[in-house]
Symmetry: none
Subunit: 220 residues, 4 copies
DNA sequence: CATGAATGAGCATTCATTCAT
DNA sequence: CATGAATGAATGCTCATTCAT
């Protein structure tokens, strides 16, 4: 028997073509997909990607482990979809902020950090996974996402430089270094923020905006 | 990530009894213990605690997996010892800084953040594990360590309050909120700092001190 | 390889009842059945029966796996139909050859082997499955087919004996043993023959006829 | 955490360095390795490689499935070791025959086919796997083994040509085609020969030698 | 101290099959 | 006829841990 097939099957995938149907009970497909993603988010968040099992996610959904594979290709695929979705939303924030009109560079920075953190507080699980479990992606996808993340770095660095030119912030500041500290402040929120805890979303987001402003040597 | 995994197995350890023996060749024992810890550090850093196997560590040491169990009680035990050791060192920095004489609160903060980050850049692997894999500890030990970490929070909050009173920093600042942002800036270094990369240790540590100063609304 | 796997599930098949219907579009039914068989042939040939999945066949047909079960009862059922079809065709060759008039036993043998091999070269996939995957059939069906195959053995043995009597071949020859060698030569073609390769169909079939002749100690 | 590890671990393998020890209970290692191979042979022969499970082999050995992995890297690795071992033995036969002195090409052919078949009848399971399941090997290893097998083809072709030159066999014979038929006769033995059945080993091996002789148009 | 062998539980993944719509 | 969703059992494989020697 000529077994020249050698693995790479690329079989015509189950889902996919399904988009845009109208038959009764349809669009449930999309709903179910989202349920799967949500269940995975919950499980990955509470156990960590590595320690979470596909079984856990199936349990969360109330289906059998095997059935879950109707919706996913692999556990890693699930992580990827999660991270990708999250990235898209985080990216949207950048774009919103970039699109604001009549806003100076410092205020744009304030907006960016404020909104990102507000998003984080409202999507703790997703952001925790986004920042904690990126490494578990396969090399290719990881590099890809990392590349995409770098856009945010550049965005902030550019704004700092503009703010320096505009005299809005201390001209002594090293944008390339400072951006890292700023991202740390912003990202780490996923670790200490507790919904219903000591701080409200607005406080945290407004607080960060002010923190950013001061840390750039500007008057808030 | 809130790991609820719980295996707290405080078995009376072999080494427990072994501590402080005087039999010839004992110094070797301590040396070997450290080698084990170092190997674990290396492995946990590169693969992540969850994905690292006991086999990996044995390989790193050049012994058999079974033999490793002469030195450790469990994989989690190894993580604990690592985190404990790291904490001790991080704690020592706090104490050093607290012991400095003739230093105002703002400068003490500068010292604290500067030294912590310098330590991070020089002990990347350990700090990465410290901040990334704490959740993998059994519930009891995790809570314990978290409690210990909170001392640092309090230390910084107190210093900020003192600095406010001393008029060294902006009195409007919310110390309880700001401490979180500051820790974010400091901690996240383990993620972006690359030895031999764009930034030198001193730059990063001096840079953070300045960042902290400005973010508190003080003149550096 | 002696497969003891046994799942003999002779369920009354849907198509059983379906046979001989006249409803409009019925010719399409037969057409579709053949398409299914052809798809299965292709897939079983390239992946091997055991490693081929029902999904693979559905993909090949461009329908969903579930839909395939309208046409088949089980994967094994598909294999059976394939092998049965193949056997029928192979049997037809025997009968053709048996029906030839005015042909001596040696020439009949030449015809038989020549035609069988010509058929093999033109139906590589089917013959490969026929000779390679028979064992995967349920015990009952396997024994059945093996019994049917034995007719060919007897046919050849009888012809050899006749040829011996007719003085066409060496009388020392042990027909019972030789038949096995001859079948080996004939069957193994499915393993080494490559369409479009070094040898043409006619060469291989004429070549085998000559080989058979010589191996029986006759002059070609 | 810097997860640049990216899978390929090549960990220092368990077995391997073990060869050549003298401690009591040692050399059991080698014995056990052979037991594993034998169990696999038995199981792969009776169920076919694809349908045989690692569990089956563990059962055969009376150990747990997980324990089996102390001895093997993967199921395919087991198949490879089996096929490799078999090939070595088959190759040894070729070399023995090649080393015979004072033997003409035709007699060398008789020896080769006779001995190969004798080996087959005495190692039915191994040879069945060798000829039936080669395709299941990974692409690289499969090609490797196929390349090695081709040496046998060349060996036989060369002998036929020499025999033609020596006038021992019909000069009309196409060696390149005939070799395929001959191998078919020889190989297929694994399918019809039954130990303790109608034919004895010597009969089958002597019978094939004679068959080969005649099929080359020579007097036996 | 160290080894080699084994355990047993768990895991991601596949797959033939079913069935309501 | 066809789809989409689910089932449930099996599969190959990993791994922390144990323990006699």
């Amino acid at each position: 028997v000529a077994s020249e097939a050698d693995k790479t099957k690329t079989r015509t995938t189950k889902r996919g073509a399904a988009a845009g149907r109208t038959r009764p009970g349809r669009a449930n497909g999309a709903r179910r997909e989202q349920e799967v993603l949500d269940a995975a988010t919950k499980v990955f968040y509470s156990r960590g990607y590595s320690d979470a099992s596909v079984q856990d996610i199936a349990d969360e959904l109330g289906i059998l482990k095997g059935s879950l594979y109707y919706y996913i290709d692999s556990k890693e695929d699930l992580l990827f979809r999660l991270l990708d979705e999250t990235h898209e939303e985080v990216q949207a924030i950048l774009e919103e902020v970039a699109a604001l009109e009549g806003v100076g560079p410092l205020d744009r920075l304030r907006e960016y950090f404020g909104r990102q953190v507000a998003y984080t507080t409202r999507n703790l699980a997703k952001m925790a996974i986004y920042y904690h479990d990126l490494d578990q992606l396969s090399a290719g996808r990881r590099k890809d996402l990392n590349r995409k993340r770098r856009v945010h770095e550049k965005f902030v660095i550019d704004l700092i430089e503009q703010a320096k030119k505009a005299g809005e912030v201390d001209s002594e500041i090293d944008a390339n270094l400072t951006v890292n500290y700023l991202f740390g402040s912003m990202i780490w929120v996923y670790r200490w923020y507790k919904p219903g805890g000591k701080f409200k979303t607005d406080q945290v987001s407004q607080g960060l905006a002010d923190f950013v402003t001061r840390s750039l040597g500007a008057r808030s």
